[in-house]
Amino acid sequence: MNSIEEVTSKPAVESVKTDDGPSDEELLLAVGVSQDRRAFNLLFARFSKRIFAMGMKLTRNEQLAQDLVQEALMTVWTKAPLYDLDRGTAQSWIFTLTRNRCFDMLRKKKRQPQTISADDIWPQESDAEMSVVHEEQGSQAVEVAQIERLYEHLPDAQQAVIEQIYIFDRTHEEAAAELAIPLGTLKSRLRLAVAKLRTMIGVEQ
C-alpha cells in the first residue's frame, strides 16, 4: 500500500503525465500562491490545445473555440489563488471551469435568458462531494451497508479519517486534532477516501 505521503498528495483522478517536470497541481499552486509566470506558461502549454479541442467540439466554431482558450485560461490565472488540493486534481478543476465557461459563453452567444448559469447546472464540487454518505433515506440503507463493506479496503490512514467523521461524528477540526494531523491533510484524505468509496461502489454496480 502507498505511504501516507503518497496517499495524501495523490489526486483522486490519476494524472496523465505528458512530460516530466512539475505536476499540474504544483504548477497551479505556484500560479496561485506566487503569481509564478513560468508555471503559468507551462500550464498554458499543457492545456491550451486541449481547451481549444473542447471548444471546437462544443461550439463547432473556430473563433468561439479561440475565445474559449482565452476565457478559460484567464479564469485559470485569476482563480488560481482559490485552488487547493481539496478541490481535486488540477485537470478536473480546469476541465470543469472550461466546460462551465463554454456553457455560459454559448448561452450568451445564443441570446438565451440569463436565469440559469453553469453554476446552477453543475453545483460546486463541495456540495456533491459528500453526498455519497449524506443520502436521502431511500437509498441510504443500501449505500451505508455497501460502504461498511468497502471501507475495509481503504488504506488505514483513510479508514481512520472516515471513522472519525462518519462513525464518531466529529467535526473536521476535532478529527484533525484527534489524529494529530493538519486540517488540510485530513480534508485531502477524506476527499480521497470518499472518491475511492464512490469508485468502488461504481465498480460493484
Binding site: 483522478v13 490519476e14 496523465v16 505528458t18 496561485g32 503569481q35 509566470r37 503559468f40 506558461n41 498554458f44 491550451s48 490545445k49 486541449r50 481549444f52 479541442a53 473542447m54 467540439k57 462544443l58 479561440q66 482558450v69 482565452q70 485560461l73 484567464m74 490565472w77 485569476t78 482563480k79 488560481a80 489563488p81 482559490l82 485537470q91 478536473s92 476541465f95 462551465n100 463554454c102 456553457f103 448561452r107 445564443k110 441570446r111 438565451q112 435568458p113 440569463q114 436565469t115 440559469i116 448559469s117 453553469a118 453554476d119 446552477d120 447546472i121 453545483p123 456533491a128 453526498s131 455519497v132 436521502e136 431511500g138 437509498s139 449505500e143 464512490r198 469508485t199 461504481g202 454496480q205
Partner: protein, 236 residues
Amino acid sequence: MTTANFHPSDDILRDFAQGNVTTGMSVALSAHIELCSSCRTRSSELESESIMEWLKLEGDSEPDFSGMIDTITALPQLTTEPQINSAPVNSDDLAVSEIHMLDRSFTLPRVLARAASNGLKWNKLAGGINQAQVQIDNETQCEFLYMTPGSQVPVHRHQGNEVTLVLDGAFEDQFGHYGPSDFLVRNKRDQHQPSTEEGCLCFAVLDSPLTFTSGLARLFNPINNYRFRRATSQRF
C-alpha cells in the same frame, strides 16, 4: 424520498458531463441528479472518464495561442470566490421554491427553483392538464406540468425527444408506471397516452412540438406548433 426506477442513459449522462446538451436538457438532468444518488455517483464517474479522454486530446494544427499569455498574466487575481448566480432575478417575492397544487405542496430541486425564479404562470390545457412554461433556452420548450387526479393526456407522438422528470405523484402510460424522481425519455417513435389517478407534477423538456394523433385532440396541433415556436423563438 422514493428511489427512482427510470434513469438517464450513460450516453446522456456523459454528454451532460461534457457540457454537450441543451440548457433545457441540462436543467432536467441536473434536477434528476440532485434527486437520485445513483445517477449522482454515475455522472461523477462519467465526468472522470470524460476528463481522462480530454487529457489525451493532442492536436498539432491549432493556432498559436501564446500571444494571449501576457494579456492574461497582467490581470489581477481573485482572492475570494466571486458571487455565483449573479444573473438578475426579477424580484425575490416572485421566486418559486415550492409548488402548491390542490392539497399538495412540493419543494423544487435547486436548479428548478432557479428556473422558476421569475414566477410561474399556469395555463389550463385539455384533459385536466395545467402547464407553466419557463423560458430556459431557445432550443427547447421547458414546462412544469400538473395533471389533476384522474386526468388523461390525449394520445400524442413526439416530433423530437421529450424528457419528463416526475417531481411528485405518479402517472402511467402503456410502457410503465412512473413515480417521484423518475426520468423518462420519449423519442419520435413512441406514441403514448399518459394518465394519472393520484395526480402528478412533472418538469418536461421538448426539443420539438408534440403531435396529437387521435380524434379531436388533433385540433390542438396547430396550437402546439405555435406554442413551440413561441417558446423557442430563435433570436440569434
